[in-house]
Amino acid sequence: MIEIQNLNVYIKDNHILKNVNVTLPEKQITCIIGPSGCGKSTLLRTLNRLIDTTEEVRLEGRIMVDGQDSLGHDAEVTELRRKIGLVSQRPCPLPMSIFDNVAYGCRINKMFKKRRELIYHVRQNLRAVGLLDEIKGRIRTPAARLSIGQQQRLCLARSLAVQPAYILADEATSALDPISAKTVEDLFVKLKEEYSIIMVTHTLRQALRIADNVVFMYLGEIIESGPAEQVFHHPQHELTQKYLAGAFS
């Protein structure tokens, strides 16, 4: 479980995230929605501390990940990032073979001693995203040769391979063709049995289809959050109503 408490994020002198308080439950899909520029990506990047790579950023508040403050001074950032996987908007295969892409994180985290175990694990994760059969015989070829949709599934397999508990997805299907998008979306639904998934999406239809929980953000604030059914069908806040109405019509 991730509990965000009084989170404030400043970049340079801009107040990007304003007093964010929300709990992201386990083994469910939480969709973050909101207009462009409201801070959705920033929130995701704060969760796995990728925000650290941004210049002149200041973080306040606490993010309790399984009971430990990930913003604390003693937080192990690399371990945190292993635990919270990220799938980005544009698939971004590493400059190496398909196999090495998936094996990369395992090698970094020294997960296996025996080569045989590593190979088995890599194949397992490629199978989980439905790639293993598609790429038969090409596992040692450069990942860049895959189609965009396949690349995105490879990125997902790569994230799964380091055995995270959470998966962040930032518009992970928006750069894909409709069929690939559907495949990846279905994968997320399947994966929520084992992982807690937090995804940003611009397609409300998608959120409607797969979200268990919804967080609506506006100008850096969380306006409303709760079970999907409630937020979509009985929105409490006027802004949420407007946003849903505008986007649905």
């Binding site: 996987g85 590493l94 380091v162």
Partner: protein
């Protein structure tokens, strides 16, 4: 565009032919192989052995690159992957200035600082006496000269690596150094090699700075503390006086031809390696 490309290719060919014709007289007397491997250099008697100059060139260049490559790589990595923007703001202009300094300045610096340092501090540990005008001095001066060039090239190459790629690696729990080593360096390997070849070509062709510190003693250098006499220095030093001896002029032209061919071979080799790497990755 095509015309211009053809023109530049043609230009290289014309230069080659020109140098070849000019060096024909010296080639008439002896075979190319003899000229390249002989060590005797007596212009008066018509004996021209280029081996000392070729080895001198290779030695100085090798020392320079061995020195410059790690320093430049680490500097560029630090500046692109670790340094705060403030640091970059001061270092980048400084690099540009260093890269633009005339080579004679580096030569003067070598004579005033490096040569005495070698002669007084380094050499006494190994040999009885050294003037300091050595392979080592030439290598250091050349190395320092190509560092700004290499650093600028490397920075440009590393900056071209998309941010998302680094973030993909970091997201899997990699440290910054692991990301640099396994992703950034891997992605940019072809560029790093191409830049290195460029630096090697620069170092091989550099004349004035080397001439000032290499010692200009004809002989095959056997170590860092021997003097050397690279090809460009040979040409520059003797170009005026050789006019009286036709064979001498021809010999110097042949020296230029050797330099030309060596640099060309280097570039072609690197092209081939680059092509291989790119084909493997794409």
């Amino acid at each position: 565009m095509l015309v211009l490309t053809l023109f530049s290719v043609l230009f290289v060919a014309v230069m080659f032919v020109g140098l070849y014709l000019k060096s024909a007289p010296v080639l008439e007397g002896k075979s190319v192989w003899t000229l390249l491997t002989a060590s005797e250099w007596r212009p008066m008697k018509g004996e021209f052995g280029f081996f000392p100059f070729i080895t001198g060139t290779l030695w100085a260049t090798m020392v320079a690159i061995l020195l410059a490559l790690p320093v430049s790589l680490l500097t560029a990595i630090y500046l692109t992957e670790y340094a705060k923007p403030v640091v970059k703001k001061f270092v980048f202009p400084a690099l540009d200035i260093l890269a633009g300094l005339p080579s004679v300045i580096y030569g003067v610096w070598g004579v005033l600082v490096i040569v005495p340092w070698i002669s007084q501090r380094v050499a006494p540990h190994f040999v009885e006496f050294s003037t300091g005008y050595t392979v080592m001095a030439a290598g250091i001066v050349l190395g320092v000269m190509v560092i700004p060039l290499l650093v600028s090239l490397f920075i440009e190459i590393f900056s071209s690596v998309p941010k998302e790629l680094r973030e993909a690696s970091l997201s899997l729990g990699a440290t910054r150094w692991q990301t640099t080593r396994r992703v950034v360096l891997r992605q940019t390997l072809p560029g790093i090699m191409a830049s290195t070849v460029l630096a090697i070509s620069r170092a091989m062709g550099e004349t004035i700075a080397v001439l000032m510190v290499c010692g200009c003693v004809i002989g095959v250098p056997h170590g860092l503390l021997d003097a050397c006499y690279p090809l460009p220095a040979l040409i520059a030093n003797n170009y005026g006086e050789m006019l009286s001896m036709p064979l001498y002029e021809s010999a110097l032209m042949f020296a230029a031809l050797i330099l030309f061919v060596v640099v060309l071979i280097f570039n072609l080799l690197s092209r081939m390696v680059l092509y291989r790497i790119e084909k493997k990755n794409a």
